[in-house]
């Protein structure tokens, strides 16, 4: 069953068409990698799926049963950022009127901390965490409300190789438990290694299919 269906989507900034008649869907348990060179509209696509951008034409259908989780590419977390990793993860609890966390919410936070290998550093200020630890904290926060579709926007871009694999291994574990994943990346090797399906965006065209049909990068696409 599709957790998201995009049908004949066109998005433009003024006269400049960024996404042109794009159609694809993400099914339950898919690990869809979205690849393509800079400026081809990958983040624009995500922003429109999240409802931040209005398409010029076409539809994005997100069934009511789909709960979206999103790990954005940029976050304003500097060295002085004061919250501990545990408190940062807990920010994404339901916006209820109760100021403190209920027992079940606390348990859920602890579970996310544990499952994202953050137990030992849960009390460390997020501002002082390494790049990989930060990404795992972002992931834990996004997974806290138990989404069934997770969008990762360039989450591995600033990580060294070891941390990239560590993060994506973790995501794969969640995917194997039924989470659908949409992973935006520049990295063809990672895409091939972790994806089950691909969406390749290039200026004016696109292709999609099972991962073994992913075309080789052309000039301008980073390998």
């Amino acid at each position: 069953m599709a957790v998201v269906s995009v049908d004949d989507l066109t998005i433009a900034y003024g006269n400049h068409t960024v996404i042109d008649h794009l159609s694809f869907s993400i099914n339950e348990g898919d690990f869809l990698v979205v690849v393509g060179e800079n400026g081809v509209g990958k983040t624009t696509l995500v922003r429109s799926m999240l409802g931040f951008l209005k398409p010029k034409s076409g539809t994005i259908t997100i069934p009511q049963s789909t709960r979206l989780g999103y790990v954005p590419q940029f976050r304003n977390i500097d060295e002085e950022y004061p919250l501990s990793i545990r408190d940062f993860v807990a920010l994404n609890t339901k916006p209820r009127l109760l100021p403190w966390l209920t027992k079940s919410e606390r348990n859920r936070v602890e579970r996310m901390i544990r499952e994202n290998n953050l137990t030992k550093i849960a009390e460390r200020p997020l501002g002082l965490a390494s790049g990989g630890e930060k990404q795992r904290a972002y992931l834990a926060q996004a997974l806290l409300p138990n989404p069934n579709l997770l969008i990762l926007d360039e989450s591995t871009a600033s990580l060294d190789n070891e941390m990239k694999y560590e993060l994506l291994d973790l995501v794969t574990r969640f995917q194997q438990n039924g989470l659908s994943v949409m992973f935006i990346t520049h990295d063809w090797d990672l895409a091939k290694q972790y994806g089950t399906r691909f969406l390749y965006l290039s200026p004016g065209s696109y292709s999609t299919g099972p991962i073994n049909e992913l075309p080789s990068p052309v000039k301008g696409d980073k390998k």
Binding site: P72, F74, N76, P82, E123
Partner: protein
């Protein structure tokens, strides 16, 4: 000391102000609104001057001016890159207005002094009650929006993604900030108001890493400053605001040194 009714009033008033400033301050610091808070205090001065001119209680004029302007500043400076310039412009306008209203009113000199530097030991029982009511109102609203405000203040990108209405949160918070600035001006005065709204919270974040704990610590730092300030003011007859300012700066400097010490170990 507490047998004197004006000192009792001052202690009750300063306790409520310290609590409100401690809580609001944590969000002021997280949302990078220290400069706006400084500006709101100047706007508070203009509002107070207007109240003197119009024959109102100073607090009412302050509330009116700070609330109006906080929403205007909030709306004009949605783009962060523009925020500082907008705040400077609004601040310049309101200082000018403050001077105008003072020069138009007959009792300028002493009123201006009490608005600018605070007059906590001259606070009446009625004013204490007014302050208590306003503080409780601020606390209730904060409690009701606590989770949303916390998310938006400490991770605005995450909050946007989770569907929190950031404009509503921002406007309500600015109104609460305006109210707190007006209330706190009674004790430290317009000039030094930003001290209680920024320094205790800015210090707290170096000692603890949870929002609730930061709030508790910020309240304790504000209480320490205001209570000790009142006590020292009573002993020496020097201005209370001076002591509060010095104590809060000492706490902040200690917090910075502590964080350097922790980092180097």
């Amino acid at each position: 000391m507490l047998t004197l009714s004006f000192m009792r009033h001052a202690f009750v008033a300063s306790t409520f102000i310290a609590i409100i400033c401690g809580i609001i301050g944590v969000f002021v610091v997280a949302r990078n609104l220290s400069f706006l808070t400084h500006t709101l205090s100047e706007i508070g001065f203009a509002g107070g001057a207007f109240a003197v001119f119009a024959g109102w209680p100073a607090l009412n004029g302050m509330i009116l001016f700070t609330m109006l302007s906080s929403v205007i500043v909030g709306q004009m400076s949605i783009k962060e890159s523009r925020r500082e310039a907008v705040i400077s412009a609004v601040s310049a306008l309101f200082i000018g207005l403050g001077i105008l209203f003072l020069s138009l009113s007959s009792q300028s000199a002493s009123s201006a002094t009490s608005i600018l530097f605070g007059s906590v030991v001259g606070i009446s029982l009625n004013e204490v009650w007014q302050l208590v009511y306003l503080s409780i109102l601020v606390l209730i609203i904060l409690l009701l929006m606590y989770r949303r405000l916390k998310f938006d203040s400490f991770d605005s990108i995450g909050a946007q993604v989770s569907g929190i209405n950031q404009t509503v949160i921002s406007v309500i918070f600015l109104l609460l900030l305006a109210l707190s600035v007006s209330v706190a001006a009674q004790i430290v005065g317009s000039l030094l108001i930003f001290i209680l709204l920024t320094l205790p919270a800015a210090s707290a974040k170096y000692f603890t890493h949870g929002v609730a704990r930061m709030i508790i610590l910020a309240i304790l730092f504000s209480l320490l400053g205001t209570w000790l300030g009142l006590f020292l003011g009573y002993l020496t007859d020097w201005p209370v605001s001076f002591f509060i300012a010095v104590i809060e700066v000492i706490i902040y400097t200690t917090a910075l040194l502590y964080s350097k010490f922790i980092e180097s170990n």
